[in-house]
């Protein structure tokens, strides 16, 4: 608990664990607030991360925190620049584990091209049944280029719908770890910057971008359909799902359409750019399994559906409840 008191123990913790990992001139000044260069169209986001376990196949809460934050900025076409991070440490958290997480946070921040310019640390008591937990809160700031108008209401009838890769990996990895199920499913936790910059640089007419997180692809598309007043129509055959994840879902009674990712985006682009957009995504580090998965129509504004493998029509709504495995 002494680490949270603001005294010697606190400054030692900050110096040894955080400052070393996040080393940059702004943070190095150790002022109360960071004053940084900016530009006219600022994108701001905030997020909190409470995932358990703290480390999982394919990532950890630190990497997740950076990716989750920068990806939200990127989905508005903003170039992420700055991050803040607040760490709430629960008494009992092992310093070695904290160091690994902070190092991972720093490394991911470097990969994503963002600077950590402000931070805070608190320590709270552990309850009898649990201790050693960690919560991270972030804020992210980025800048939107002039003329860029990517948003949820931008989809138009005729547009193509793409996804940058396999569905459900993160959710399946976390659930596998929690249930002690042996497989090689990894979280796909990743920053989407390379893909977004590539789409914009290649002059793809991008109307909407969304990262596919909690609630899954179906939830995202239903929300876009409502905001844009269009119909989102998907082809089940075109949906990219890793074979292991598919089997895992089959066993657990889960649906990849409703499972979260942490490193995939949905892009709604002008029809004539569909094939090129797919190629651009596939050429990026995290876009290997990118696919065109459907189209936007004006059939029934605010609805989303999927053409099933046998040509049936399944209406998609947002996720109800928690997506728990069923009884029998």
């Amino acid at each position: 608990m002494a680490h949270g008191s603001g005294g010697r123990a606190t400054s030692d913790l900050i110096a040894e664990v955080f400052a070393r990992a996040f080393d940059n001139p702004v943070l190095g000044a150790m002022e109360d607030a960071a004053v940084v260069p900016a530009s006219a169209r600022i994108a701001v986001t905030t997020d909190s991360f409470v995932v358990e376990p703290l480390e999982f196949p394919g990532g950890d809460i630190g990497r997740l925190a950076v990716c989750g934050t920068v990806n939200d900025l990127l989905m508005r076409g903003a170039a992420p620049q700055y991050l803040t991070c607040g760490f709430v440490l629960q008494e009992g958290l092992e310093i070695g584990l904290l160091q690994r997480i902070v190092d991972s946070f720093a490394q991911t921040a470097r990969e994503a091209g963002v600077q950590v310019v402000a931070g805070d640390t608190k320590v709270i008591e552990g309850r009898k049944e649990e201790s050693g937990g960690l919560i991270i809160n972030t804020a992210g700031v980025g800048f939107v280029p002039e003329g860029c108008a990517i948003g949820a209401a931008g989809a138009k009838s005729g547009d193509a719908i793409l996804v940058s890769g396999n569905l459900g990996d993160h959710h399946a990895a976390i659930l596998s770890k929690r249930l002690g199920i042996d497989n090689s499913i990894k979280s796909d936790c990743a920053p989407l910057g390379e893909m977004v910059q590539a789409l914009l640089a290649q002059n793809i007419q991008v109307h909407c971008l969304r990262d596919v997180t909690r609630g899954g692809l179906a939830t995202v598309l239903k929300e876009l359909a409502e905001r844009s007043g269009v119909t989102m129509e998907l082809d089940e055959e075109a949906l990219p799902v890793d074979a292991q994840v598919r089997d895992f879902c089959g066993l657990m009674g889960l649906d990849p359409l409703y499972m979260g990712n942490e490193g995939k985006l949905v892009a709604v682009v002008a029809a004539e750019d569909a094939a090129r957009a797919r190629d651009v995504l596939a050429g990026c580090a995290y876009g290997a399994d990118a696919a065109v998965i459907g189209r936007v129509t004006d059939e029934a504004p605010g609805t989303a559906y999927i053409r099933t493998l046998i040509g049936g029509k399944r209406v998609l709504d947002v996720l109800y409840g928690e997506g728990l495995p069923r009884i029998c």
Partner: protein, 363 residues
């Protein structure tokens, strides 16, 4: 009984054409199993049928057919000192006479959710001074797992675990539906139940009531094929007497005899008993209870037969019998939603009402 292994891709176009074009007398097939209702929703199969062909959901959702007395007993147990109720996720939000386990938990009731019954072994060993009561609900598919759990409890000499059972079997409820004028021309038989019991389970029913059965799997094409085959068989049975039989459209998993090991272990620990079904009352010999010599493991399952509606306008009972579509219930989608369920059919993800609402189904 005949097994079907056919090159389905070639047949799919012809099958879909027949289903869409059928304009003979109305035919209703009941899918007894909640997982089939879910699969039919997921693949959009009812949208492929002409308006004369009807798929009706039946009472095959174990959570949905459990009477409120069972939930209320679990609630009472969860509030007893030194007792924890252990259950699957589905049961947490089913309303009893007034409230659910999830509601009670926020008032201090001790309830733990698990994904597998075997998790209770770990819980019981970690806290030997505490009594754990497992909510053992299910059909023939899950009962063997509870039998295996019991075997483990005995072998590992674990003495602080009991079961509150609501175990049911298929044949008697199907017979009840046939005897009580349900208007069903054929049945899509539950594939996972049949994996345990064997497809032979349905032969006496087909013979006695002269309705065809199609044992179906859960993948899109094989399920569509089973639906098609059963509709065609129902059409034929209308015209010809004595042709009703059981066809196995799930031969990769289901055999005629079933899993004899599973059947034996169930018989070892459980005996046939009467059981109460929401909407249908007590159906003789339609359930299972722990045998007398294992009564020490039972938490008082036998008398739990009363059912009370939380909301008098709830029509779950009619929906479970296939007499009312979910959309015909006055509470559907307005008062009764997954966030605020009035009856079990809306809580369980395999409940008919939940399915119809989630997938925006009208048929």
């Amino acid at each position: 009984m005949t097994d079907f292994k056919i090159d389905m891709d070639r047949q799919i176009t012809k099958i879909k054409a027949w289903l869409a074009a059928y304009d003979g007398p109305d035919i209703s097939i009941m899918e007894v199993c909640g997982s089939h209702t879910a699969a039919i929703s997921k693949y959009g199969i009812s949208g492929l049928l002409s308006s004369r062909l009807h798929l009706i959901s039946g009472p095959g959702c174990p959570v949905c057919v459990t009477p409120t007395a069972y939930i209320d007993r679990l609630l009472a147990l969860s509030l007893e000192p030194d007792t924890t109720v252990v259950t699957f996720g589905d049961l947490m939000r089913v309303p009893g006479r007034e409230r659910s386990l999830a509601d009670a938990r926020s008032e201090g009731a001790q309830v733990e959710m698990v994904y597998s019954p075997m998790d209770i072994l770990r819980l019981a060993k970690e806290q030997p001074q505490r009594r754990f009561v497992f909510a053992a609900v299910g059909f023939e598919t899950t009962t063997p797992v509870y039998a295996m759990l019991l075997e483990q409890l005995i072998e590992q000499k674990i003495e602080n675990v009991q079961l509150l059972t609501a175990l049911k079997t298929m044949p008697e409820v199907i017979a009840w539906l046939c005897e009580n004028g349900s208007g069903i021309d054929g049945f899509l038989a539950p594939g996972h139940v049949a994996a345990v019991t064997g497809a032979k389970l349905f032969e006496p029913l087909a013979a006695r009531y002269q309705v065809p059965f199609g044992v179906a799997g859960f993948e899109a094409k094989e399920l569509l094929f089973a639906v098609y085959g059963t509709f065609r068989a129902a059409v034929r049975c209308r015209e010809e007497r004595g042709c009703a039989d059981v066809k196995n459209y799930y031969p990769s998993v289901v055999t005629h005899e079933g899993n004899e090991l599973a059947q034996r272990i169930v018989d070892k620990y459980f005996e046939v008993s009467d059981a109460a079904w929401r909407g249908m009352g007590v159906i003789p010999a339609s359930g299972r209870l722990l045998r007398a010599e294992y009564a020490g493991f039972d938490a008082g399952s036998a008398p739990l037969i009363q059912d009370h509606k939380k909301n008098q306008a709830c029509r779950c009972d009619q929906v479970l019998m296939g007499r009312c579509l979910p959309g015909e219930c006055p509470l559907f989608g307005t008062v009764c939603t997954p966030q605020n369920p009035q009856g079990a059919c809306m809580v369980s993800e395999e409940g008919s009402c939940h399915q119809y609402l989630m997938y925006h189904r009208t048929r």
